[in-house]
């Protein structure tokens, strides 16, 4: 082999080596690129998992938020109910206090006039009546007659009412023992309320035995109408008033009889 052919062969070998090296460098470049892409993909793949996780968390939190919101609304409603209940209890408390004081006062005396005075005070101050009459039933004549009244200026002759049992609105109240109320918006001055047709008439009864009634013709200026609890309170007060009136009446009758007997005994003792 000549020196020239050896050199050519070496050059050819060198060139192949160069090409192989260049090919290796390109491959290396390609692999680096693939590695970088793979890493990016991997990273991208990891983020979507986190996003999914976050999305799940958001869904979970949204649901929780919704639940909390619903619970809040429910508690708010409960709160409103409690507030309303509190007002109702306050009213009931007020009415019980009124009833307690009224019954205490009504049964604090056996003096008939004092009892009537207390009934009047109750009707004015607790019921809020400006014009009213207390009527008692005379069982001998079956007539209802005024024994006390207020508001002569509003309802003339209120102090002289005389109605037969069963006649008209008040006669029926006394006969049936059922309370009577009409629309509160009707004013006493309008002419709809008359001496025979009051705004309200509540029987004074002991169990089923009617001894009289309270007739209301006009409420105080500041009281527009009867409230729901007024009806109950009025009936309860009327029941207490009835027993107080009845016992004081019996007491005064027995006192009179006792005095008569005592006088008779005194007379006998003196003459003997």
């Amino acid at each position: 082999m000549t020196e020239e052919s050896k050199a050519e062969k070496f050059l050819e070998l060198f060139n192949k080596g160069k090409e192989f090296t260049e090919e290796l460098l390109r491959e290396n470049q390609r692999l680096r690129y693939r590695l970088a892409s793979a890493e990016t993909e991997q990273k991208a793949g990891g983020s979507s998992e986190e996003v999914q996780k976050l999305r799940d968390q958001i869904t979970h939190l949204t649901e929780e938020n919704k639940r909390i919101h619903e619970r809040f609304s429910a508690i708010e409603e409960e709160n409103k109910d409690f507030a309303n209940r509190y007002i109702e209890i306050e009213e009931q408390n007020n009415n019980l206090a009124n009833l307690y004081v009224a019954s205490y006062q009504l049964h604090s005396t056996l003096d008939f006039r004092e009892v009537i005075q207390i009934v009047q005070e109750i009707v004015i101050n607790l019921i809020g009546a400006e014009a009213f009459a207390i009527l008692l039933l005379d069982e001998k004549t079956n007539e209802l007659k005024t024994i006390a009244s207020e508001g002569e200026d509003v309802m003339p002759n209120i102090d002289q009412i005389s109605i037969r049992l069963g006649d008209g609105v008040m006669g029926q109240v006394a006969r049936t023992g059922e309370s009577y109320y009409i629309n509160q918006d009707i004013d006493a001055d309008s002419g709809s309320i008359t001496i025979d047709k009051p705004l309200a008439a509540v029987p004074l009864k002991i169990k089923e035995h009617v001894i009289g009634l309270i007739a209301i013709y006009k409420l105080l200026q500041q009281k527009d109408s009867f409230s729901a609890v007024d009806y109950e309170l009025f009936s309860l007060l009327a029941a207490h008033a009835a027993t107080a009136i009845f016992s004081s009446k019996l007491y005064s009758q027995s006192e009179r009889k006792l005095n008569t007997i005592q006088s008779f005994l005194d007379l006998l003792t003196t003459t003997s």
Binding site: Y104, L126, L220
Partner: protein, 125 residues
């Protein structure tokens, strides 16, 4: 408000008792009762220092408006808060009562809760 002394001026025993009953909601409250304005002035000059007066208007001997007026003219008593409690519900009656120096005006029938709230506000000042 604890240990307050209240003067209740009212000719009706039922109303006196009802107001006194409501005032018992104040811890250790002392309730002094008077049947009219003259009786109230006597109680005001007594040993108990009154923190608040509750008075009716229509009373025999001396009415509530006269009492309010006299209390406001008295150097020792003029700062005592006064609440008028009355059946007189007309606006002019209210204005008259407040103009004479009452701090509050409550129309009957009274609501215990309203009375308590009014007193609490007056005594909190």
């Amino acid at each position: 408000m604890e240990n307050a002394n209240f003067l209740v001026v009212e000719d009706s025993p039922t109303m006196r008792q009802l107001i006194s009953f409501s005032l018992k909601r104040f811890k250790n409250a002392k309730i002094i009762e008077a049947v009219d304005g003259v009786d109230a002035l006597k109680k005001l000059s007594g040993p108990d220092k009154i923190d608040l007066i509750l008075t009716d208007i229509n009373m025999p001997v001396m009415d509530g408006l006269k009492l309010v007026s006299l209390v406001r003219q008295n150097a020792q008593l003029k700062n005592i808060p006064i609440i008028i409690i009355t059946t007189e519900g007309a606006e002019e009656d209210r204005e008259r009562g407040l103009a004479l120096g009452a701090n509050a005006y409550i129309s009957k029938p009274i609501q215990s809760s309203h009375l308590i709230k009014t007193i609490s506000e007056l005594l909190a000042v």
